[in-house]
């Protein structure tokens, strides 16, 4: 699906996504590292639980939301770093 082109990595970073280890290149955004590792779906939407992944990769669409350190963030807007614990945002249960 996504293939890296051109340059060779100077260093690798290692983090987890929903408990699974992901290895990316230093300098990747979190979204790029996840896509390169084969993760297309980052989350399910809160209202209809439809799958969502990165669309714009530039901070506009908010489809690449993940949770890092307890906060919902745009995966395309933060660098992939060693030791990050990344999870999909929880899907709230619809209220009665």
């Amino acid at each position: 699906m996504f293939e890296r082109i051109g340059h060779s990595a100077t260093a690798q970073v290692r983090f987890t996504f929903n408990g699974e280890t992901v290895i990316g290149n230093a300098g990747d955004s979190l979204a790029a590292a996840l896509l390169a590792a084969g993760h297309k779906v980052f989350r399910d939407t809160p209202t209809t639980a439809a799958p969502r992944g990165p669309f714009c990769m530039m901070g506009s669409c908010f489809d690449c939301l993940v949770v890092v350190d307890g906060e919902t963030v745009q995966a395309c807007q933060i660098p992939a770093q060693d030791g990050l614990v990344v999870t999909s945002p929880p899907v709230p249960r619809a209220q009665p």
Binding site: P92, R93, Q95
Partner: protein
């Protein structure tokens, strides 16, 4: 075009009245302004709220409670006709207090109202620990809350949409995007002119135009002593369940977002939010529910309440032009069931009518 009832104002108040009149077999035309208007029906908080209403005016407290009691069947009707879930929840609500003193001061006010109503007024005082068992996510600064089992909330945008669908379904005419500029009594009827639209002739006219009544009211003999009061609202990203019941300053909407509000400012016809107010709302919400500190804010907005001098609704029939009625209130969501229900008996001169004498304009004459 001719109609029995022309309703000036296509917000929640106007549409609720229209729905009630259509259910009584009347022909109704609702005249709505465009999106440039100050649209309280699109900016409100969505509470169906009893607590704190009419603390010094038992008639208003009872009127509010009657609407809250009628709400379930009203909402069921609108849901059935419109096929939209309104997410009405009437499982009680809180007013959270951050100090024992303010909780105690409010308790005394509620006890006063209860005794004026012969003991028939439901509320409970909950200390921090009692509240914590119901709402585990409250913060340590919360002193407690007043709880009223008759409080609740609804999805106000779906209610607006549902009423729109229901009014059209019952054969009502809803004309939007044409601001009413003049209304002229002609004999026993009324001629209504609007921007870029054919005039309408109506046997009766109901002015439910929110802040628009400030200019249109005097044309029909009303004083319309209302003013805008600004409130600002924040909504967060959608979150897992953080609270079980709404409180007057923060509620979790049916889709998971946390809505934070209840600011009030006297700033005229200004519906712009400002950073200081929004920051204050956010800080207070975090004091009440500390987990909100990590929630992302999605949107904020300001809207204008329609306030009478004493905060109560105004229901007034024109003395000069008896076919003209003035209906305005701050609580269009809460009172929607009363407006669609018994208030229609007043507008149609039914044999049995609700007693709205406490809500006439003459109460402001001194």
């Amino acid at each position: 075009m001719e109609t029995e009832f022309a309703i000036i104002g296509g917000g929640i108040v106007g549409l609720s009245l229209a729905y009630g009149l259509l259910r009584r077999g009347k022909t109704v035309c609702v005249l709505d302004e465009g999106d440039g208007a100050f649209r309280a029906s699109r900016g409100n908080f969505g509470l169906v709220w009893v607590q704190s209403k009419g603390l010094h005016h038992p008639a208003y407290a009872q009127w509010t409670r009657a609407s809250a009691r009628a709400y379930r069947s009203f909402a069921d009707e609108i849901e059935t006709v419109s096929d939209l879930p309104l997410n009405l929840q009437q499982d009680g609500g809180y007013i959270i207090h951050m100090s024992e003193d303010s909780l105690d001061a409010d308790r005394k006010l509620y006890e006063g109202l209860r005794s004026r109503l012969g003991g028939d007024y439901p509320f409970e005082v909950m200390g921090h620990n009692a509240l914590k068992t119901e709402e585990p996510n409250i913060g340590p600064k919360v002193a407690g809350a007043l709880y009223c089992k008759e409080d609740g909330h609804v999805n106000p945008l779906r209610l607006l949409r549902g009423l729109t669908v229901a009014v059209r379904h019952l054969g009502g005419t809803l004309r939007t995007g044409h601001k009413v500029t003049d209304v002229t009594p002609q004999g026993a009827e009324f001629s209504i002119t609007a921007e870029d639209a054919a005039p309408i002739t109506a046997k009766k006219v109901v002015l439910a135009a929110g802040l628009g009544a400030m200019s249109l009211g005097p044309k029909l003999g009303f004083k319309a002593p209302i003013r805008p009061q600004q409130g600002q609202i924040i909504i967060t990203e959608k979150l897992p369940k953080l609270m079980n019941r709404p409180n007057v300053e923060v509620r979790q909407v049916d889709e998971g977002g946390i809505q934070i509000g209840a600011s009030s400012a006297e700033v005229g016809l200004n519906d712009r939010e400002d950073v200081a107010t929004i920051a204050g709302l956010a800080a207070h919400a975090v004091d009440m529910f500390p987990k909100l500190a990590r929630a992302k804010m999605l949107r904020s907005w300001a809207a204008l309440r329609i306030m009478s001098p004493d905060g109560l609704p105004i229901y007034q029939r024109s003395a000069r032009h008896p076919g003209a009625y003035f209906v305005t209130c701050h609580s269009g969501i809460t009172l929607a069931a009363a407006h669609a229900g018994v208030l229609g008996d007043w507008l149609t001169d039914a044999a049995e009518q609700p007693d709205v004498s406490a809500f006439g304009e003459d109460r402001f004459d001194v």
